[in-house]
Amino acid sequence: MSILVGADTRLLLQGLGGAGRFHIDRSIAYGTEVVAATHPKRAGEVEPFEGEIDPSGVPGRAGGYRVELPIFATVRDAVAATGANASVVFVPPPFAADAIMEAAEAELELVVTITEGIPIQDMVKVKRYLEGRRTRLIGPNCPGVITPRACRIGIMPGYIHRPGRVGVVSRSGTLTYEAVKQLSDNGLGQSSAVGIGGDPVNGTSFVDVLRLFQDDPATEAVLMIGEIGGTAEEEAAAFMREHVRKPVAAFVAGTTAPPGKRMGHAGAIISGGAGTAAEKISALEGAGAVVALTPSDMGEAVLDAMRRAGLG
């Protein structure tokens, strides 16, 4: 078991540009079931991929791969022909919101949006459009989701991951890789790792992912990586207090960041706090999380949280 993605995920690529092509190729090499791509002008064509399989990916494979990915004009066409149930969006920022809503209209279960720089008002519309629909959006501006040795969707380097029982959730991309590598180096594998993205309006929150990890039998402990700004960490802490029974370790980036840069005059008001690292750390500790005070201690903090819970 795992959350969000696994061996039954059938992935569609939206955005067959340079980055989209490079990273979908890495996902194919990892062993992800990639079934289709959409492109407004290339319907009916195929996009060829070939290379050496990624030995850190789905086990039981060897040698090379050769895939001819069918291209469709619309998401609906792709779903009808291939049974795709998830998509990854690499569409450029001006068109990305539309791509997400097209995927939701086609009732995909999961849409992972990598695109960085989508206008905030576009995401405000997307969030409203998704209400009452079955589609879960991860991102935007996120590294994606991975279940080690089963399915990689996004841009994360696959080889740092190990299968295991720690769920990872983070607002940051590269800092997630840093955390995952520390876990793997400490002998702690991951059930799934989820990057929820750094944008102010996103599809899935810390709370959503904590709920999924709490309900996932394969996850024994959680590492949550936040950063300064907003109140997502405080909301996660409030949820943990009530609903999370598994050990949680956390890190908040930006402890030493200078307050100099104003973060939108009135922006912090609504939330009733300034979004400092100190406030977030105290909220998380108050909810029972073991907080790593430096980024190099994230792996150790997870071990500590598990020991306190009588695990490991």
């Binding site: 206008p119 905030i120 940051s172 309006v201 109140t231 980036a253 009135a266 939330s271």
Partner: protein, 408 residues
């Protein structure tokens, strides 16, 4: 992207929000010339001369060169001396304000040079209110906030009397609805003429915020005049930079003289750069890892000279520019490149770093830590270059330790 008060007012007025009449001036002559048509238009002999800088607190601010002089000045001379007296007084003020340095609570001690003035009609203020439109992250919708506590910092109101802030979420499907505009103005205590004027203002402001893709619109104070007109006495507007592509007309409103030159240059290369006061230059991919790198440098006894996120889509050219911007800071005694490649490929970073070193020369120690996508290729590129003074580290903490040691 921030703009000046007078620009914000022009944008809002064009969208149906009431603002006082005024004229912008960059010279003493322009300031004087603004007086006569303004007085003729409004019939009011009182004018206000306002410094235009990208920082708040101008009224309470003081000029470095003229400590007795505030950033916003009301000229009453016309009440008795007629328009000629107003012209003379405005000219004298403009002489002292233009080119001088205004220090406010938001500018820092160094202050900001005043290059533009706004000469505006005087307004008889019956009541000062507060109104803003910002993003509410929890709901993912735009939020209108209104308060009778105009003229004061809204942060103070939120901390001391949160119940004094009235809120309405803007549903993107339908926009701000009439009942919401009514409820907000009713709670502000507006009645009769002022209520109708207030509803028009709130509705126009909410629509403008969405149409213009603002990060924030803040009207503080929003005033009710003696005649029951609701209008913006001040206006602060900033835009979502990711949406500027669909507002080409806004580009001309940018005032580069108000921005840190290194940060402007960095932004042109897609880099997110903030100058700090330490000695260790940082080049990192991803905002979270960049902050964590700064945290780690401090942890091992160093001080970061900057925050620099090269982003995910950086090219060799961008990395070169990043390197040049970092090395231009004379405080930098060592550089730490910390890359965990996802969308960013390590070979791109490696090539960029080497090219930058060739272009600008390596005057200080350099520690490079590479991990992630194409890491083997990236490391090989660095190692084959055999650059003296370049150390390769295996982890963030090892790299931070190494550079802090080398920079001593």
């Amino acid at each position: 992207m921030k703009i000046h008060e007078y620009q914000a007012k022009e944008l809002l007025a064009a969208r149906g929000a009431d603002v006082p009449s005024g004229r912008v001036a960059t010279t003493v002559e322009e300031a004087v010339a603004a007086v006569r048509p303004l007085v003729a238009e409004t019939g009011n002999p009182v004018v206000v001369v306002k410094s235009q800088i990208h920082a708040g607190g101008r009224g309470k601010g003081r000029f470095l060169e003229h400590p007795e002089l505030g950033g916003v000045n009301v000229v009453l001379d016309g009440l008795e001396g007629g328009v000629a007296a107003t012209e003379e007084a405005v000219g004298a003020l403009a002489e002292r304000m233009l080119g001088s340095t205004l220090v406010t609570l938001q500018t820092g001690a160094g202050g900001k040079r005043v290059n533009r003035l706004y000469v505006e009609q005087g307004i008889e203020v019956a009541q000062e209110l507060y109104l803003s439109v910002v993003l509410d992250r929890s709901s993912g919708q735009n939020l209108v906030m209104a308060s009778v506590e105009g003229g004061t910092e809204i942060e103070e109101v939120a901390a001391q009397r949160p119940e004094a802030i009235h809120k309405a979420l803007i549903d993107p499907a339908v926009g701000l609805l009439p009942f919401q505009a009514h409820a907000l103005t009713y709670r502000l205590g507006l009645r009769d003429e002022a209520a109708a004027s207030g509803r028009r203002f709130v509705t126009a402001l909410a629509a403008a915020a969405v149409e213009l893709d603002t990060d924030m619109v803040e009207i503080n104070p929003l005033v009710v005049t003696g005649q029951g007109r609701v209008m913006a006495l001040d206006a602060k507007v900033s835009f979502d930079k990711n949406a500027l592509f669909r507002h080409p007309q806004l580009a001309s409103l940018r005032d580069l003289s108000e921005e840190e030159p290194a940060e402007v240059e960095a932004a042109e290369y897609g880099l997110s750069f903030i100058k700090l006061s330490g000695t260790i230059g940082c080049l990192v991919n991803g905002a979270g890892l960049a902050m964590a790198t700064m945290d780690t440098i401090k942890e091992v006894g160093g001080e970061p000279a900057n925050f620099l996120d090269v982003g995910g889509g950086a090219t060799v050219e961008n990395v070169t520019a990043a390197f040049e911007i970092i090395t231009r800071d004379p405080n930098v005694r060592g550089i730490f490149v910390n890359i965990f490649g996802g969308i960013m490929r390590c070979d791109t970073i490696a090539t960029g770093v080497l090219q930058a070193v060739r272009n600008v020369g390596l005057q200080v120690p350099l520690v490079v830590r590479l991990e992630g996508t194409n890491v083997e290729l990236g490391k090989r590129i660095i190692e084959e270059a055999e650059l003296p003074g370049l150390v390769v580290a295996d982890s963030m903490k090892d790299g931070a330790k190494a550079i802090v040691e080398l920079a001593r």
